[in-house]
């Protein structure tokens, strides 16, 4: 092997590389493990302070929401659903750190429990939208033609029905429990992702490396999974992070018109919706759920942007 190699020339000048051994000696010490794209993206992400802070905030919210029951019982010593009409609209105090609501329930514990529902609706709804959206978009974009026509026809039809009426009809048939809300919002949300992915695939599949890979015998599955999907993924991830935020906002909006998750199950949205009736009696009932929604959505948007930068192979 070494002898064959010696017949080659160096990049900079025409002389044969007898000095190859010397070259190798210098570089061999630095034997590098293959770096996956993920590793590099992670490194870049770790350098982005704002995104890390946002990730930390979301991470913290997720953890306390998941542990909501344990925290309320063990640390706060309150039941989020127990009412006490003698202590309604209390401002923040030692017993009730964030005060009480119109039925005398402890607001902090309700925010924790509500956060669990709100975040779950956002995350799982976005996962459904992502899975369906990416698969359909990838197929439509890759195969084009009839497949694409059919998908686009379906999407256009679905999107031209006003969502609010669709939701009204659906919730007349199904009680708006968190599970149904996730499923319905997820299946209404995928169209946007599909549109986006389809457009990206159209542009990616014409790139030289896709042709090159096809010319080297890659199957359709390889082309889609290995060459097209990874190049579409960055934009999908950004959209998913933003989708989670949007779904949390939609849930709040639905609660506001009485179509969201029904009490006594708490969500940030329905807490905020109820609180607007009592604004003058307990402003803290509006401030805290509102603040949590805003912070969560903002953090998710920041994460979306940060991930896009980290996942872009051209930025370094």
């Amino acid at each position: 092997m070494a002898e064959q190699v010696k017949t080659f020339r160096r990049e900079d000048e025409g002389e044969p590389i007898d000095s190859l051994d010397r070259y190798l000696e210098g570089t061999q010490a630095a034997t590098v493990e293959p770096l996956s794209f993920g590793t590099i993206a992670l490194r870049r992400l770790l350098r982005d302070r704002l995104t890390i802070i946002a990730l930390g905030v979301i991470g913290l919210l997720v953890v306390v929401s998941v542990l909501a029951n344990v925290i309320s019982q063990e640390f706060l010593g309150v039941d989020p659903n127990s009412t006490d009409l003698q202590i309604t609209f209390q401002p923040p105090s030692k017993e009730h750190l964030l005060g009480t609501d119109q039925l005398g329930r402890d607001q902090l514990s309700r925010l924790l429990v509500g956060g669990r529902t709100s975040l779950a609706i956002g995350f799982f709804g976005a996962i459904i939208a992502l899975t369906v959206g990416v698969s359909v978009g990838l197929l439509a974009g890759f195969f084009g033609g009839r497949v694409d026509d059919l998908v686009m026809w379906f999407i256009n039809t679905l999107q031209s029905i006003p969502q609010i009426f669709l939701l009204l009809i659906i919730f007349a048939l199904f009680a708006p429990t968190p599970t149904w809300l996730v499923i319905i919002l997820g299946f209404l949300g995928w169209v946007g992702t599909t549109r986006l992915v389809r457009g990206e695939v159209f542009s990616v599949r014409e790139r030289d490396y896709v042709t090159a890979s096809r010319a080297l015998g890659a199957s359709r599955a390889t082309l889609m999974g290995r060459h097209i999907l990874p190049n579409v993924l960055p934009i999908v991830i950004v959209v998913t992070a933003i989708d989670i935020g949007t779904l949390i906002l939609i849930e709040s909006a639905l609660s506001f018109i009485g179509l969201g998750v029904q009490p006594p199950t708490a969500t940030w949205g329905n807490m905020l919706a109820k609180a607007q009736q009592y604004f003058h009696l307990g402003p803290h009932l509006i401030i805290f759920p509102g603040l949590l929604i805003t912070i969560t959505v903002l953090c998710l948007f920041i994460i979306g942007d940060g991930l896009r930068d980290a996942l872009d192979p051209r930025l370094k």
Binding site: M1, Q4, V5, T7, F8, R9, R10, E11, G14, I17, L20, Y23, L24, G26, T27, Q28, A30, T31, V32, P34, L35, F37, R207, D208, Y209, T211, A212, S213, R214, A215, L216, G217, A218, S219, T222, R226, H227, P230, N231, P313, R314, K316
Partner: protein, 343 residues
């Protein structure tokens, strides 16, 4: 060689033919009409030789290459002809078999090396991919072999360069990677579609050297597509000159440069600027390439052909000449050299 040359168009006792293209026609059905990008191309490539395909931009060189690999997409379609590769008729092969053949027994490299590499994966990964795809190697095994291949295409520090991403490479380095990928499975035919056009001149020579060395060592036949006659002179054993979707002259390279026959070839040779020679203007071929939608009925070059006017040939405008032998191994499609009844 005691095996008689099969399907070979000229010469006795030539080495075995690896690729034989007959009457290949690839048309593009556009809104403006049918573009006859490749319109009846015949040639064959022998085992291990470097075969040149030369012509201006848009004369159908690349479409010929893509047609051989069956990579022409809608609205393009190969409508007629046969492509025989190593005894197999490619145009009739099922898509699955064709896919197995691409990259393993026949590969291609393109003009833009950097954009031919997937930006998301390291170059080592992409060399390994073709090995995993065709040889069923495991990830680690393929990686080791990929590093070895990168070493062979001239990366002195292959092990660390394998981790580099396409955007971290120069054009020349990326083209080396493409060569490593294309030759990873030691195919019997490599199509190099303008492999050095996007590179600067010093790097060009290195890439061509590398191509020649590797193709010799691994007995890979090469179809070198280029518009650069200098590259042809330096690299190629036999050459076909294309004009407006057809081959107008086919010969071994020495003979072509010594005694070019077809007026188009002659024109091409004359239009090369000569180093050190000061001229007020370069020699150019008058007129321009015909529109491939509405082709003239006769010879495609006739409207631009000075010898035709000088010799007062009328047939050129009415009947298209065939590619016929003038001497052993030298073919041209031109009425100047062929018997005909004057019309």
């Amino acid at each position: 060689m005691d095996t008689p040359a099969r399907l070979s168009d000229e010469g006795e006792g030539a080495p075995r033919t690896i690729l034989d293209v007959r009457g290949l026609k690839t048309y593009f059905y556009t809104d403006d009409g049918v573009v006859k990008a490749v319109d009846g191309v015949d040639f064959s490539v022998r085992e291990g030789e470097v075969f040149g395909l030369v012509g201006e931009s848009g004369c159908g060189k690349s479409v010929t290459a893509l047609s051989i690999l069956r990579l022409v997409d809608s609205p393009g379609e190969t409508v007629d002809g046969t492509v025989t590769f190593d005894g197999e008729s490619l145009l009739e092969l099922p898509e699955d078999d064709m896919n197995k053949l691409r990259g393993s027994r026949m590969s291609i490299i393109f003009q833009q090396p950097i954009s031919s590499l997937n930006p998301v994966f390291s170059v080592g990964d992409q060399v390994a991919e073709v090995l995993q795809l065709h040889e069923g190697l495991g990830k680690d095994e393929a990686w080791i072999k990929a590093v070895d291949l990168l070493d062979q295409v001239g990366f002195p520090d292959a092990e660390s360069r394998a981790n580099a991403f396409p955007h971290e490479m120069s054009g020349g380095q990326a083209q080396r990677v493409m060569i490593a990928i294309a030759l990873a499975l030691k195919p019997s035919l490599l199509i190099a579609d303008e492999p050095t056009t996007a590179l600067d001149v010093t790097i060009q020579a290195q890439i061509l050297d590398l191509l020649r060395d590797l193709s010799r060592r691994w007995k890979t036949a090469v179809i070198l597509i280029t518009h650069d006659l200098g590259v042809i002179a330096e690299m190629v054993d036999r050459v076909a000159v294309m004009y407006a979707g057809r081959i107008v002259e086919l010969s071994n390279v020495r003979e072509l440069f010594k005694t070019p026959k077809h007026p188009y070839t002659v024109g091409l040779m004359e239009s090369i600027p000569v180093l050190g020679q000061v001229k007020d203007r370069l020699n150019v071929i008058p007129g321009s390439v015909p529109n491939l939608i509405n082709l003239p009925p006769g010879c495609r070059f006739a409207p631009r052909c000075r010898p035709r006017v000088e010799n007062g040939l009328e047939i050129c405008i009415q009947v298209e000449p065939d590619l016929e032998p003038l001497a052993a191994g030298h073919l041209a499609s031109c009425w100047l050299y062929q018997d005909h009844d004057e019309v």
